[in-house]
């Protein structure tokens, strides 16, 4: 009999894992809470560093995992451990018995309205990175369309590295996302002055630094080291942003037609809920805790439970995909090992 692997989460990690499991001859079952596959990446427009359309990546992944059993709009009602197996009960009444569960539950975008001082949901011209990608994808957003856009600000680290927001970790991809979006906006609004308010620029990945240099030199994007402390709205409905230029040691103030908040990655409460059913440990940052953060990032301390992607912490797309493959390989080795 073909071994069943339950994959919780139909984002890119889940899809990639399913496609790899299929290639190895197993039966993956994807349980996806929402009505569509692809997770956060499906909402994105283009991916750094090569500006690949996110749509292409997601549709490739969906195509290569189409033979998996996929339950959309299905949540985990409960999981309990049998002797060697896990019994996964879904909200649609289906119950799956499997020896292997792969958590690809991903992250949740920080709710920007929690940073009250930035006024998301209060000031009309304050949007998030996700809203901006949505606009890139659909072209629909009254906060941008038909408005005169002469100045745009990007606030890095919204809800990241912020103990007050109860997320002290760095979300890793916001810096490069902000730069990517800043360049895209500059291309769309060449006359606009674009400001990036950052605390540290953390551009660790391949070609990320090139992006930064390009943004500076070719697009003239202003990088201001200093966290935005206060946003207010003026009588025209534009936002006034206050920050300190910490490199100059002077407070600065600027009026912006659009302020984009780079919401960070925070743990997904759904993955915490499912994890608690199996008494899986949660790390201090709220993400799932791997059995080892160096050697075994995809393993949990429990037999048969594996992790891949942003459920264990902020990850980039390639890292997520690599982890999905790596988790599949671990599952595979374990199945082979047990068959012997």
């Amino acid at each position: 009999m073909k071994e069943i692997v339950v994959i919780i989460g139909g984002g890119i990690a889940g899809l990639e894992a399913a496609s790899q499991l299929l290639k190895l001859g197993y039966t993956p079952i994807i349980v996806e809470k929402s009505g569509q596959l692809g997770g956060h990446v499906a909402q994105w427009n283009r991916l750094f560093p090569d500006m690949t359309p996110a749509k292409d990546l997601v549709s490739d992944l969906i195509a290569s995992s189409k033979d998996a059993n996929i339950f959309l709009n299905a949540e985990i009602s409960f999981i309990n451990r049998l002797k060697d197996n896990y019994n996964v009960m879904l909200s649609n009444g289906i119950s799956i018995i499997s020896r292997y569960i792969l958590f690809t539950t991903g992250f949740r975008l920080f709710e920007a309205q929690k940073k009250e001082e930035y006024g998301y949901g209060i000031y009309n011209q304050v949007i998030t990175n996700a809203d901006l990608e949505h606009w890139f994808n659909t072209g629909k957003d009254d906060r941008i369309n038909g408005k005169e856009i002469k100045s745009i600000g990007f606030v890095h680290c919204v809800g990241s590295r912020d103990e007050k927001a109860r997320n002290s970790q760095c979300s890793k991809v916001c810096c490069i996302t902000a730069i990517k979006q800043a360049i895209e906006m500059k291309e769309k609004f060449p006359d606009a002055e674009i400001y990036c308010f950052y605390m540290d620029l953390r551009l660790f990945g391949k070609k990320f630094e090139d992006f930064y240099i390009k943004a500076q030199r070719d697009h003239g994007i202003h990088f201001i080291r200093g966290r935005v402390s206060e946003v207010s709205e003026n009588i025209d409905g534009n936002v006034i942003v206050k920050a300190e230029d910490t490199l100059l040691g002077k407070p600065i103030k600027v009026t912006l037609n659009l302020l984009v908040l780079m919401s960070g990655m925070v743990c997904n409460p759904d993955s915490t809920r499912s994890a608690s059913m199996l008494s899986l440990p949660i790390d201090s940052d709220g993400f799932l805790k791997s059995s080892d953060n160096v050697m075994h990032i995809t393993s949990s301390p429990r037999n048969g439970i594996y992790y891949a992607g942003a459920c264990t912490g902020p990850k980039t797309v390639p890292e997520t995909l690599a982890e999905a493959r790596s988790a599949v390989l671990e599952i595979h080795s374990r199945i082979i090992g047990q068959q012997k």
Binding site: Q216, R217, H222, K242, P251, V254
Partner: protein, 110 residues
Amino acid sequence: MFGFRISPSSAINLDNVSRDRFSELCRIEPDALRCMACGSCSATCPAAEFSGMSVRKVLLYLQRGKEEEAFKIMNNCMLCGKCTMVCPRGINTRHLLLTICRIYEKEDRR
């Protein structure tokens, strides 16, 4: 009359900063924009101990419209080129400084 006055805000209002001259500077020396404020230039500068010279700060001051401050710290620049040597982004700081001396003007002389 009261023994005190309304002092102007020390905050820099980026809405009112004129960018014309800085754009002109960047047209001549586009690498100026590549500064990532690492501070190597300031650390190595022999004029730093005399006038607080720092190319990083000069660039920032100019971008924020604080031109007089920039001129003040540039006063002891000896054009020795150490900053050019250490700049990790390969900015031609010497030419940059010379260009500033050419295209900018002190307020009282404008």
